[in-house]
């Protein structure tokens, strides 16, 4: 693991690696999404939820990725804060908007799913609520980064915040679950939803892998963009002298 990371620390090697890895992940994401969507839309209707069960294939992987990207953001922030890796900081900066978009997608599709299932656009369900808090963590990270003019200071402050968030995300998640079980009467989660059949599990798995590859591709592309931006800034600074 550390060997692999050490390999990627070097910006030149990273650029060479990502030049072919990013398109590969992108193609993989498209292929998996095509297969997952095909299977998802040809799967039989759920006996209780009907056609709306298909929202799951878009919604559930988005929620998972929202959490997964935050863990990546925290890991990259740790590497940049402790080992002062410039590339790790670029990775953290690049990951935040992607994660925010995944959580926003999870919230939007969750709301669209909630309307036919629960009869309301928004229900204070434990999962919806904790995804909303996760979205706020992303917003705070990006707001802090944007508000500090000194780029190096902003990067380190944002990295500290990401680590504080990483410690807090499990606590928030658990506390929201606990809060929700206290108020169980208000949630109306369809019974039997967890007994997902194989016809639903396979497309869900394919879509999750597709989302994961898409994240890989987008992340690499954005890190590449960040490296280019820094090189341009450094060149500009050299010319100005």
């Amino acid at each position: 693991m550390t060997q692999a990371l050490a390999f990627l620390y070097n910006p030149h090697r990273f650029m060479a690696f990502s030049a072919w890895a990013a398109p590969l992940f992108g193609a993989l994401a498209l292929g998996l999404a095509a297969a997952g969507l095909w299977l998802g839309f040809t799967a039989p209707e759920d006996y209780q939820q009907g056609d709306t069960v298909r929202i799951m294939f878009i919604h559930v992987p988005a929620a998972w990725l929202g959490l997964f990207v935050y863990v990546c953001l925290g890991g990259a922030s740790f590497l940049s804060l402790v080992f002062r890796q410039a590339l790790a900081d670029a990775a953290a900066r690049a990951a935040a908007p992607i994660g925010a978009v995944f959580t926003a997608l999870a919230l939007a599709t969750g709301s669209l799913w909630g309307k036919p299932m629960w009869g309301a656009w928004w229900v204070w369900d434990a999962r919806l609520t904790s995804v909303l808090v996760l979205f706020l963590f992303y917003l705070a990270y990006m707001a802090l980064r944007a508000a500090i003019d000194d780029e190096a200071k902003g990067a380190r402050a944002a990295a500290i915040l990401a680590l504080v968030g990483l410690v807090n995300v499990p606590v928030v998640h658990w506390s929201v679950e606990w809060w929700n079980t206290l108020h169980q009467g208000r949630t109306v989660f369809a019974a039997g939803g967890s007994r997902a059949a194989t016809v639903f599990l396979v497309p869900l798995l394919l879509m999750s892998l597709s989302y994961m590859s898409a994240f890989g591709a987008l992340w690499l592309v954005r890190i590449r963009g960040e490296v280019w931006r820094r090189r341009a800034a450094a060149a500009e600074a050299r010319l100005a002298r």
């Binding site: 706020l136 402050a157 680590l163 807090n168 606590v171 506390s175 606990w178 206290l182």
Partner: protein, 221 residues
Amino acid sequence: MSAALQLLRREMAIAWGRGGGLMVTGGFFAGATLLLPLASGPEPERLAQIAPGATWTVLALSALLGLERLFERDYEDGALDLMAHAGLPLEFTCALKCLGHWLATGAPLALLAPLAAIALGASPALAPLLVACALAGGLAFAFTGGIGAALSLGARRGGLLTAVIVLPLFVPPVIFGGAALDAFSAGLPWRAGFSLLGAYAAAAVALGPLAMAAACRNALS
């Protein structure tokens, strides 16, 4: 030890004086509480139902008030630089600053909270638990809030940014305290929520200063 006491006294004096202190936070607390019946109607039954939760929410929001003054002034006039190079570890200094902030604003607010809750129609029997929750919660709010305040040093519109950073971190203590108050009002066991609130406050006191000191060092570098 005497240096620590002096620092604590200084922090409390700053939090009390210079246009801060209970006048401002208490005024905000009363004003925000006043808005609730104005917005949702004065029917006593409905207000009584939400009185504990509403008081708890307003307490959490009031905890945001003095945060931007916690580090910002010392950062701007160079006092924070001196503190960083003084004999006390910066972590300890940050913890003392938060403690002073809590003693000067959070603790007095905790004594005001039952007045607001009872005015909204909560049972007077709730008062002891509300004070205890507000004291423990205030400690958690001060020490997590301090992280946000330290992180937004040197940022544009630091005060607003602090609130954006800190509010998601307030989620667990708000849940725990709210649950304890809710359970007590409904005659259910409330100890679980209160113990969790205490645990969160203890964790915030233990871990918050590490993040605050790291953020201060970064801002001073």
